[in-house]
């Protein structure tokens, strides 16, 4: 079975029309006609991840995020970059193939990245009926909520904004480069990654100011990988339902950061 045949089968089983204009969900490295020995699903095709996939005997990496450090995997400016050369050479030498699976895993119902995030938060039963990204839970403090999430999701570099003693009972959740906009009707906003300031809406400043006025508000920044990696395990499980010829493993790219202890 070739990598291209795996992708063809994904297209056949996804249940939605394929968007041929997606520049994301395409091959990034290697020959699509390479015979697949095994598949690794992951959050991001870092060099370290590709090396570990190869060591596990998996030569086809299905990644959610880019390989060459930009959304479009633009390589035209990278020809003389030493790390680009190293990564490309490593993949060529080891006949590794990388394909990105981003847009369609989000747009198929259900969005498996979302499924993975809600599962790893442990919030499957906390979803409100009104809106997919809204959750309610028994009143707790922002500090206790953050500690629970830190433990459940095993985050090293979690970042929290707001008063740890603030009483909270509702949250709006985003994944990846998205933290929902803080509004008066929700206590906590949670997501992967956002600009700290100067973005379309600055949650960080808003939460700080809301806390100043004694409002029970918080922001929990999980990290992009922490928020989206769990769904790539769901992706592996889903692939196994229609790709049975080769082994399929979910391999964590992992949280990129550590954080010094204050």
């Amino acid at each position: 079975m070739t990598a291209n045949e795996v992708v063809e089968r994904i297209r056949k089983n996804i249940g939605i029309p394929w968007n041929e204009k997606s520049y994301r969900d395409t091959f990034k490295v290697g020959d699509p006609n390479t015979e697949v020995k095994g598949i690794a699903t992951t959050f991001m095709a870092t060099l370290d991840l590709i090396q570990r996939a190869r060591a596990a005997g998996l030569n086809f990496v299905i990644t959610h995020e880019p390989t060459f450090w930009s959304d479009r995997d633009t390589v035209s400016e990278l020809a003389n970059d030493p790390i680009y050369k190293f990564k490309v050479d490593y993949c060529a030498r080891n006949k590794m193939v990388v394909w990105r699976y981003h847009d369609h895993i989000h747009s198929r119902p259900p969005d498996l990245i979302w499924v993975g995030l809600v599962r790893s938060l442990g919030w499957q039963d906390r979803q409100t009926s009104g809106s997919r990204n809204r959750f309610t839970f028994p009143e707790t403090t922002l500090g206790a909520l953050a500690a629970d999430i830190q433990r459940r999701m095993n985050v090293r570099a979690l970042r929290v904004v707001g008063d740890p003693s603030a009483k909270v009972s509702s949250a709006a959740v985003g994944m990846g480069y998205n933290i929902p906009r803080a509004t008066p009707d929700v206590d906590v906003v949670i997501g992967g990654e956002n600009p700290e300031a100067g973005g379309p809406f600055d949650d960080t400043e808003y939460i700080l100011d809301a806390a100043y006025f004694g409002r029970n508000k918080g922001q929990i920044v999980l990290g992009h990988a922490i928020s989206e990696e769990p769904g790539m395990e769901d992706c592996a499980n889903w692939l196994r339902t229609f790709v049975t010829e080769v082994q399929i493993q979910f391999i964590r790219a992992g949280e990129p950061f550590w954080s010094p202890k204050a």
């Binding site: 370290d48 740890p164 700290e196 700080l208 990129p256």
Partner: protein, 297 residues
């Protein structure tokens, strides 16, 4: 520390304004010295007069709240005009607040209709007769880069600068772990610092990328140094590049200290510069601090 006042080419108009302003400042300062001190009072100066003296780069710079004609009692300078910063400024009788980042929660800086937090912030500003002036593009365009120079000074690295490049330093060798602790302490950080790389890696050549920087800056910086200290970069761009650099066997790393923490020393330099330009009123730097904390494990 004084700066060579090299104007950005596209802003020659403002450069002229600034030069004129500096000459006018000499006259004003002279007058104040001659009469003001003996009489125990300074010549009043309005917010608009301060702004005219500095020069105004246009959008996004500009007054975001308050009356341009208000008499200035004191100036506070910050990277992010949070309520905490505004309250400290008000306590210290500084009613002109100069901020690098937005005051009303976003790049557009438009007040949010019907939002209680925004309404309370606006009311605080009105009640205390404050004027909020966003001062971003102009200060960012200044040469040498005041954010890099300010960050280096806060870290006591100015003597280690590579030539006259304010972004590059060669410091006595230390580990990435020790370097992270230095940053934690000198920047008064809490949980805002995040590190890619082995804490035991020895580093010496450091490049500073304060603020929010694109991949292109990282592609240029990291191959030529041991560790980049950035404000914020994106996880699927510069962070992955740093991860791959480490995985390729290079003894390197990336430390992100947070956008605001990385920019704050540059606003301290801004406050010092304003002291020379507006001697009529006290000018102080009020850092917003590290917004982030993390639960104890």
């Amino acid at each position: 520390m004084l700066f060579a006042l090299t104007p950005p080419a596209s802003r020659s108009y403002h450069w002229c304004v600034m030069e004129l302003s500096r000459r006018r400042f000499a006259q004003v300062a002279g007058t104040a010295l001659a009469g003001g001190r003996l009489a125990g009072q300074q010549t009043p100066i309005t917010a608009q007069q301060v702004i005219d003296r500095v020069g105004n780069a246009g959008s996004p710079d500009g007054i975001k709240a308050g009356d341009a004609g208000a008499t200035v009692t004191g100036i506070a300078v910050t990277a992010m005009a949070t309520m905490d910063v505004l309250a400290r400024a008000a306590r210290e009788k500084a009613n002109l607040l100069i901020t690098l980042e937005p005051v009303f929660f976003g790049a557009g800086d438009a007040p949010l209709a019907g939002d209680p937090v925004c309404a309370a912030k606006r009311e605080f500003i009105r009640h205390n007769g404050m004027v909020i002036w966003r001062f971003s593009d102009y200060w960012r365009a200044r040469k040498p880069d005041p954010f890099a120079a300010g960050l280096a000074r806060t870290l006591a690295w100015t003597p280690y600068r590579t030539g006259d490049d304010p972004f590059r330093y060669e410091v006595p060798e230390l580990t990435i772990g020790a370097l992270s602790d230095v940053l934690l302490k000198r920047l008064n950080a809490r949980a805002g610092i995040r590190v890619v790389g082995d804490p035991r890696t020895q580093v010496r050549r450091i490049t500073l990328l304060p603020g929010s920087t694109p991949l292109s800056a990282m592609l240029k910086a990291l191959p030529e140094c041991d560790v980049v200290i950035a404000g914020e970069t994106r996880e699927w761009e510069s962070v992955e590049y740093a991860q791959d650099t480490v995985a390729s066997g290079q003894k390197k790393g990336l430390i992100m200290v947070g956008r605001v923490l990385s920019e704050e020393p540059g606003m301290n330099l801004c406050a010092e510069w304003l002291k020379t330009l507006v001697p009529e009123v006290p000018v102080r730097w009020i850092p917003a601090g590290d917004a982030y904390w993390r639960p104890a494990v």
